[in-house]
């Protein structure tokens, strides 16, 4: 039995090796990714629990739910990808592994204090990834990212303490704290929900709490952008879909639809607003960071819809759609940013208007860029389609005529992607770029992401079938 303590031990050893034997950091990241995937595969993750009793006030219990195992597999794939695709400094790989440990802890723990600690641990490697190896404006971006997301975390910490002290708990067990949420005064319940929602919506991110994201993504080095974009936003998604949903349904407000509707409206605004802003960007990397906001807005919509509908066919479809959107967004956005990185490396620019006709000189790279953009537009055959169409079909059940806003959002999303393709890889070749070349190895490495994207797009039940998902997060803590 490959239980959690061994995984954490192995990951820590790998991390120590990569700190002390710096040359091995890259290979250690690769191994961490593999071992993480193996861990999830072996603990065929229905609802595997790992209990280690109590340690002071910490409730040392861990579990692997469906959504967590999906994200941890994504984490493994991303670790493998960054170690194969990029030749970064050893420090970067050490930070990535540190991030990986923090995320494994975050997604498996049953203890709110550990959850908070892991949530904060993530900030450290990310801060240094941006601040040490970032672009021209790195100090600003790193500081902004750190403080912005930290503000959210503080609210979450206050919410956790509110629950702890008001319920008179002896430890920070999620079971206890969520289960007894309804016993505390309404004002405190509202504050708890607000605190968690704020932390998760900042991390997701949702408009208007998103402005740390474009700066962080643009200023980070490409390998950092891949890691941050694919993994960090998943913390918010996990929080919303797993923690917030359970908190909300356990609270006094569980019957009310006001808060879910606010989530839905925020999601729709995010979709429309991010598409509109993206349409105006000339910097490809910045445009794609808004595309990331657009993708994550489907998760906000799905969470809101799930809470409005409660149970039933449509709610379940929304939940699956959101989980699928998590993994497909992680894969697709990594592919997009790494490809944009390759394009910038060969052309020396990431300004859309100064490219053009790249398909003539760098056909294979252009193909990967085309494929990643089409995946991002959610063309069938790519995994993005499965998540989006599930959320879309499910969301008609509560949106009805307001579905028209989502329709506009989809058209706008398609239009900026297609516009960018027309200006970059199609059209006449921009002779000012000179004689550019593509790197064969980078293209081969992209297949690590492209192949899962296509397989999941054609056969989505791979995830649903492999994992037993009889418990998908609802009512786990009751």
């Amino acid at each position: 039995m490959f239980s959690l303590q061994y995984l954490l031990l192995i990951l820590t050893i790998f991390l120590l090796i990569s700190i002390f034997a710096r040359k091995s950091a890259r290979i250690m990241t690769l191994l961490s990714g593999i071992i993480t995937i193996v861990f999830v595969m072996l603990n065929n993750p229905t609802y595997t629990s790992f209990n280690y009793g109590s340690f002071s006030i910490l409730y040392m219990s861990f579990r692997l739910v469906f959504i967590a195992s999906v994200i941890i597999i994504l984490l493994g794939i991303v670790e493998i990808f960054v170690s194969v695709r990029f030749n970064a400094r050893s420090g970067f790989y050490a930070f990535t592994q540190f991030l990986g440990i923090a995320l494994v802890l975050l997604f498996t723990t049953n203890d709110f204090l550990l959850f908070y600690i892991a949530w904060e641990m993530v900030l450290i490697p990310t801060f240094f990834m941006i601040g040490l190896w970032g672009g021209a404006n790195k100090d600003y971006a790193a500081m902004k990212f750190f403080i912005y997301t930290h503000v959210g975390s503080v609210f979450m910490l206050l919410a956790i303490f509110t629950m702890y002290f008001q319920e008179g708990a002896t430890n920070f067990s999620m079971y206890y704290l969520i289960g007894n949420l309804n016993s505390i005064p309404l004002v405190y319940q509202a504050f708890v929900l607000l605190g968690f929602a704020l932390a998760f919506l900042i991390k997701l991110p949702s408009v208007p709490l998103h402005t740390w994201l474009p700066d962080a993504y643009v200023e980070a080095p490409y390998e950092g952008t891949v890691v941050i974009s694919s993994l960090l936003s998943k913390m918010g998604a996990f929080g919303l879909l797993f923690i917030f949903v359970n908190l909300y349904q356990a609270s006094h407000y569980s019957g009310s639809t006001l808060v879910p509707w606010i989530l839905v409206i925020l999601g729709i605004i995010s979709l429309l607003y991010s598409a509109l802003v993206a349409l105006y960007q000339k910097d490809m990397k910045r445009m794609m960071s808004y595309a990331s906001i657009g993708h994550m807005s489907f998760i906000t919509i799905a969470t809101g819809g799930f809470l409005i509908l409660g149970t039933g066919l449509y709610a379940t479809l929304l939940y699956y759609g959101a989980v699928f959107q998590i993994i497909s967004h992680g894969l697709i956005i990594s592919l997009i940013f790494s490809t944009v990185g390759s394009v910038e490396k060969s052309t020396g620019t990431r300004n859309i208007v100064s490219m053009g006709g790249l398909a003539r000189k760098i056909p294979f790279l252009s193909f990967i860029l085309l494929a990643s953009f089409l995946a991002s537009v959610a063309i069938p055959g790519f995994s993005g389609f499965v998540g989006e169409i599930s959320v879309l079909i499910g969301s008609y059940a509560f949106l009805k005529m307001y579905f028209v806003f989502i329709m506009i959002g989809i058209v706008l999303t398609a239009s900026y992607h297609i516009y960018t393709l027309q200006r970059t890889i199609f059209g006449p070749y921009n002779e000012y770029l000179g004689n550019i070349k593509e790197n064969r190895n980078e293209i081969l490495a992209s297949l690590i992401l492209l192949i899962p994207i296509i397989i999941l797009g054609i056969y989505p039940s791979l995830i649903l079938h492999f994992f037993n998902i009889s418990q998908i997060g609802m009512g786990v803590f009751k």
Partner: protein
Amino acid sequence: MDLGVLMTYLIFGFPLMLTPIVIGVGYIKKNYSMYLGVIAIFFSFLFTVYIFYNYTVKGIIIQNNFNWFQGSGIYVPLGVIADNLSIIMSLMVSFVGFLIILFSVGYMAEDPRRHIFFGEMVLFTASMLGLVLSSSILMLFIFWELVGLCSYLLIGFWYYKPNAAAAAKKAFIVTRVGDVFFIAGIGAAFYYSGGQLLISGLNAIPYTWERTIVSLLLFGGAIGKSAQFPLHVWIPDAMEGPTTVSALIHAATMVTAGVYLVARTYSIFTPESLSVVLFIGVFTIILSGLLGLVVNDIKRILAYSTISQIGYMVSALGLGLGSASIALSIYQLESHAFFKALLFLSAGSILHALLNVRDVNKMGGLWKKMPVTITSMFIGALALSGFPLTAGYFSKDSIVTASYNVNLWAWVFLTIGALLTSLYTFRLFFKIALGKPRSYAAEHAHESGIIMLIPIVILAFFSLIFGVFQGGFYSFLGYHPESFSVLDLAPVTLMLIGMGISYWLYGRESDIPDKIARAMGFLYKFVKNKFYLDVIYTNVIAERAVLGLSAVSDATERRVIDGFVNTWGEIVRNAGSSLRKLQTGIARQYVIMIISGLILMLLFIRILMILGVLH
């Protein structure tokens, strides 16, 4: 698995799986991918013939569904159905697709990226085959999107032409507008039918306004793909792609998908939504007929003729005659597929000879130079305009006749449509075939190679004799009309008049067209500018409204939202830098501060005590 089921999956699965190989083989030797592509579609045709045989002789309707989200507890079916409608469509798509791809072997023989071209063509045809064989509305949508994707890639195949890149973008975004209606339609159908995604399950939607909603949303998708008003604007621009692509888009795949969707889901269309369908169809016929009269690009004239012929199919569906409507519409669809593929392939043959000069004013006198091509094109033109005893006559005039008893206005406009059709068709044909060559290229035109002529001749043959199958075709689709003889003479008469006018205006040297254009003045300009629809879409909606909103959003993003965040940062930092000055390191100042602070604090406590807050 049953052999029939396997065969049905293979009809589209075989070319789909072969697509990467077709492209991959091209890196070894480019010509192999051409042959492999032809073989792939030919096998699809053979599989379809087998299924057709199964159906007609043994009477087996193949249906097979599986759950796409297996293990989730939600039934999201994908699957195939091979009933009369899908078999007849699949036969046409694979046969015409095969002929077009065979023609491409000659047409694209010298293109350096032909392996990619053939891969995309195979994918395109396979997606269309998958679309017509789908038993579930979600699978239909999946292939619907793949068809759109392939058309995007193929229209922009010559990506280095700025026009081609722009046209591909336009096609994608305009059809995407239709697609989101389709998505909404799927969502609505899923909701109102209580979780059904099978097409046969759509009948669970209650017979009320819900049906109207769902059917209109689905029809919105059909408008986008089938290029009906107001989403027809992408088709003329799509002519920037290779001509064989246009042939495939217009005849076998893509634009017929919308008509097929309506025919497939016909049972949920209510009278209200059918009246919308009829209106859109009739309006499109007149609109595109007028547009076809003023453009000079050979392919664009054909493009507008496609829009108007599809208008006939949509109108036939809008008549609301049940299975008769479907039979009329699909028969028009298939005969149109033959003569439109023929017209596009002969146009391709002409363009191949004329080095891609597309202006009809620069052609002329080609009948003598390219006898086989132009004679075939003549047959195509006759069929398109509905000359008696050609395919178009049987298919189109039946629709006009059927409309007489349903809606007199529709009949009037459909008849006028016949006049317009023959006017623009023969304008095109006479300008190309008769008179003297009007350019250097036209003077030196020569007949195309045999591999390109074979498909043209086969298609010409079918365009001539397809009318023979009319009775059998209708009964295959479950329509048994009492008699065929009562065709009214109005469309034929008008068609012959139109042909005569065209000859009088364009078949000989004449300046009458210019005079008419000048006399019409404003009206001519209005039509020539495509009713300013493109101007509205591009300049008003896209560039003013959307781009304007986007600029506003960007400014909001930087100034307001990010400005708010940064202002907080500034406040904190400024506070820090001003308070920092207190820390001077001079002991006497600290002592002063301690004493003044103590006094202030005692004063504060004293005030509170006076106010009664503290005791």
